[in-house]
Amino acid sequence: MSAVREQVRRRSEAPARTRTFVITPVLVVYLALAVLLVVGSVLVGVQGGVLLDHGGILNILTRGTVLGLVAIGQTLVIVTGSLDLSVAYLVGLCSLVAAETMAGSPAMIVPGVLAALVVAAVVGLVNGLVITVLKANAFIATLGVALVLRGYLEHNYTGPAGSVPRAFQHIGYDRIGPVPVAALLMLLLAAAAWWYLRRTRTGYHMYAVGGDVDVARLSGVRTGRTIVTAHVLCAVMAGLAGVFLAGRLGSGAPYVGTDAGYDLESIAAVVLGGTALAGGRGGVAGTIGGVLILSTLDTIFDDLEMDSFFKDVVRGVVLIVAVALYARRRPARRST
């Protein structure tokens, strides 16, 4: 073998230790977030405001909390090579289940939360089983479940229902300094999800199934079980988001999830965070970065009192640029 080729090979097969120097998507996301905070501070500053004051930080974190919860779950299913489009309706449904079960009684807080999470888990189970047993494409399967949920919500609710006791509303508003307690809980769950994906067997198997489902199956991974687990966990995270929103609003609201567009928004955050939509690569750390970018953008827009149509345009452009950048990063797989 020629010296040149040997050299090329050495370089391309450098041991993992040298990879610390490689720019990972996660790093890119947080760099982008930092740049965004600086640019945003300048822009807001020019108009005489302060982006990262007490209210600004609170705003960013509060916006990020619900989207974060949903996006953590979405990360699990996307890493597994699936997708969940039913989360937005599920958020609304779970807010109703929680608020109606509590019905204003402090004694019913725990049952209310549990009921909402059980409903969420069941919906996730249905999602997972439709995909694995009926072999429906995840996109269609979860879209179908979303339509079923919408039908149920539209038939039974016209507006907010149920009532959340004052004690539980604290969860929505308590904070330590400028940091909402709920945001801390969300970050705690993100850390748990990170650990789950990176350190447990099921997490390993999620990456495997998302990377190549046939390879995973041939290696003895129970692929169906893995996909179902991811969907249940995703739904439970959406359920938590619903419970949190119920606490914040004081009641359940059927369209609280869809109005905010948590289905596509969560997918956007995941993709923005560097997780491959095809599955098998990425993770929660990037997703949280993606969530913070989106909520920071919103806060900047609010501070600048920007036109809402323009906001959407900017968000769209940011998303496309991010995905295009990741596509560019992918090394050419062609070997002569």
């Binding site: 450098a14 993992a16 390879v215 070997s335």
Partner: protein, 506 residues
């Protein structure tokens, strides 16, 4: 330890796996009819047969993917029945598939232990994974691979090593390797040989499936031949020669594998003048009508880069290309097709065929894309086209993924014949194709040349290249190293390909 491994004639080799009278049908079509197979510890046992002879099905029965309709599988004196691949794995049987079962974006260790990750206190024990992976790599003498490296960063040969380590980590005693050299570069094949021998010396039974007779004779101690799903014979390799094996496989003597060179070269069809790009440089050569010009070189020498440049995938940036005497710039495959250049890619499944589409749609793909108004004549033409390339399929509507490699390749050729190119580039035209179909493809290529097509043929199988070519161009590190006449010997080609000038001191 090398002394203990069984060779032909040994009295008491240890039987690891015995298959007896295995039968298997799909939809009423018998694929295996009473196949016997006996594998000893520490032997390399070759399994040969044409495509469709039942080799892959037999492998899948052994691997627990398919359950036999009848017959016995005996592992170390105990009859077993595999419901899933997991069962076969547990019995110590592992298959190294042609397509690797590795996750590109996970590390070596993560791949090796996929599905069997060791757990310690609720967490995957990554340290144990890496240590054990390293131990296995050392055991195989492959210390150039780091357990923590992402698989995507490894060369194909090293991926194969990882694949083998993955099997060994599941305590495999039997390794079935399906065409293990198909994806390897020439210089990597030797490394695989070494690896296979080391595995054998460590007492692993290896079932080696290959179309390449040279590998079979280099490595195996016994050969089992299958034909049409039936067991033909099992003989010590030393008692056979290539011709005899081929005769067993084909069932008839294979008269001259390569057709005679009958054509007289005509006018220059394609001429490169100092052409080059990032991968190749300063190429000057002609291919004439009626000529098959072979293009030799080690993997990575720029062989395929020439093809991709002529065809416009990665166009030439310097020099000129003339087609029938007219300077032409090919900027992409579409222009190439329009200018009458056809390209049979080396990656048949990835680039040559739309696997889930029918024989018909694949055959007409190029014509539909490049020609107007031809649609009306397509139906009648198709039968003629498929007939002329000799595709054996259930009908024009069968999806091509169900065809054998040989028939798939015929469809690819048919696709190009549909637009009657003036220049045809074929890259590894017989990769993964059995002997019988090879002969047909060779005949076909020669007939096309006789009809006035200019053919540039790339191949890493030297016998084929030498047998087919009217002239051989040899590439070395992106440039032409020299030209050899028809019938040049392999040493001459290799000397140029490896950069040793004839007569020069190494």
């Amino acid at each position: 330890m090398a002394v203990t491994h069984a060779t032909s004639g040994a009295d008491d080799p240890v039987a690891v796996v015995r298959l007896e009278g295995i039968e298997k049908s799909f939809f009423g079509v018998p694929v295996l009819r009473g196949v016997d197979l006996l594998l000893h510890a520490g032997e390399v046992h070759a399994l040969v047969g044409e495509n469709g002879a039942g080799k892959s099905t037999l492998l899948k029965v052994l691997a627990g993917v398919h359950r036999p309709d009848s017959g016995r599988i005996v592992v170390r004196d105990a009859e077993v029945s595999f419901a899933t691949p997991r069962d076969a794995q547990a019995a110590g049987i592992a298959i190294i598939h042609q397509e690797f079962t590795l996750l590109e974006h996970r590390t070596v260790a993560e791949n090796v232990f996929l599905g069997r990750e060791p757990v310690r206190r609720g967490q995957v024990d990554r340290r144990a994974m890496e240590t054990q992976t390293r131990r296995l790599l050392d055991w195989l003498g492959e210390d150039g691979i780091e357990p923590g490296t992402e698989v995507a960063r490894l060369s194909v040969a090293r991926k194969q090593v990882v694949e083998i380590v993955k099997a060994l980590s599941a305590d495999a005693k039997v390794l079935a390797m399906d065409e293990p050299t198909a994806a390897l570069a020439d210089n990597e094949v030797e490394l695989l040989y070494g690896l296979v021998r080391r595995l054998r010396d460590r007492g692993i039974a290896i079932l080696y499936v290959s179309h390449r007779m040279r590998e079979v004779f280099d490595l195996s101690s016994r050969i089992t031949v299958l034909k049409d799903g039936a067991f033909v014979t099992c003989v010590p390799t030393a008692d056979l020669d290539t011709d005899q094996v081929v005769r067993h496989m084909v069932g008839r003597p294979l008269d001259a594998l390569y057709p005679e060179r009958t054509s007289v070269p005509g006018a220059v069809r394609i001429a490169l003048r100092g052409a080059g790009n990032e991968r190749v440089r300063n190429l000057t050569f002609d291919v004439r009508a009626g000529e098959i010009v072979g293009l030799a070189g080690l993997q990575g020498s720029g062989r395929s880069a020439i093809a991709r440049a002529i065809w416009g995938v990665e166009p030439f940036t310097t020099g000129t290309v003339e087609l029938d005497g007219v300077p032409t710039r090919v900027t992409g495959p579409r222009t190439a097709v329009r200018k009458g250049i056809g390209y049979v890619t080396e990656d048949r499944k990835g680039e040559g065929l739309a696997l889930r589409q029918s024989v018909r749609d694949n055959t007409l793909l190029v014509r539909r894309a490049a020609c107007r108004g031809a649609v009306a004549r397509q139906a009648a033409d198709l039968t003629r086209l498929l007939g002329s390339v000799g595709v054996v399929a259930r009908g024009p509507h069968q999806e091509v993924r169900y065809l054998s490699g040989g028939n798939q390749q015929k469809v690819v050729l048919g696709k190009w014949l549909a637009v009657r190119p003036r220049v045809l580039i074929v890259d590894e035209p017989t990769r993964g194709v059995d002997v019988g179909a090879k002969q047909t493809l060779y005949r076909l290529l020669r007939d096309l040349a006789d009809d006035g097509m200019a053919i540039l043929m790339i191949s890493s199988e030297l016998p084929e290249l030498i047998g087919m070519s009217d002239r051989i161009l040899v590439m070395h590190e992106g440039a032409l190293a020299g030209e050899l006449p028809a019938g040049a010997d392999e040493e001459a080609v290799m000397a140029l390909a490896t950069g040793h000038r004839p007569g020069a001191v190494a």
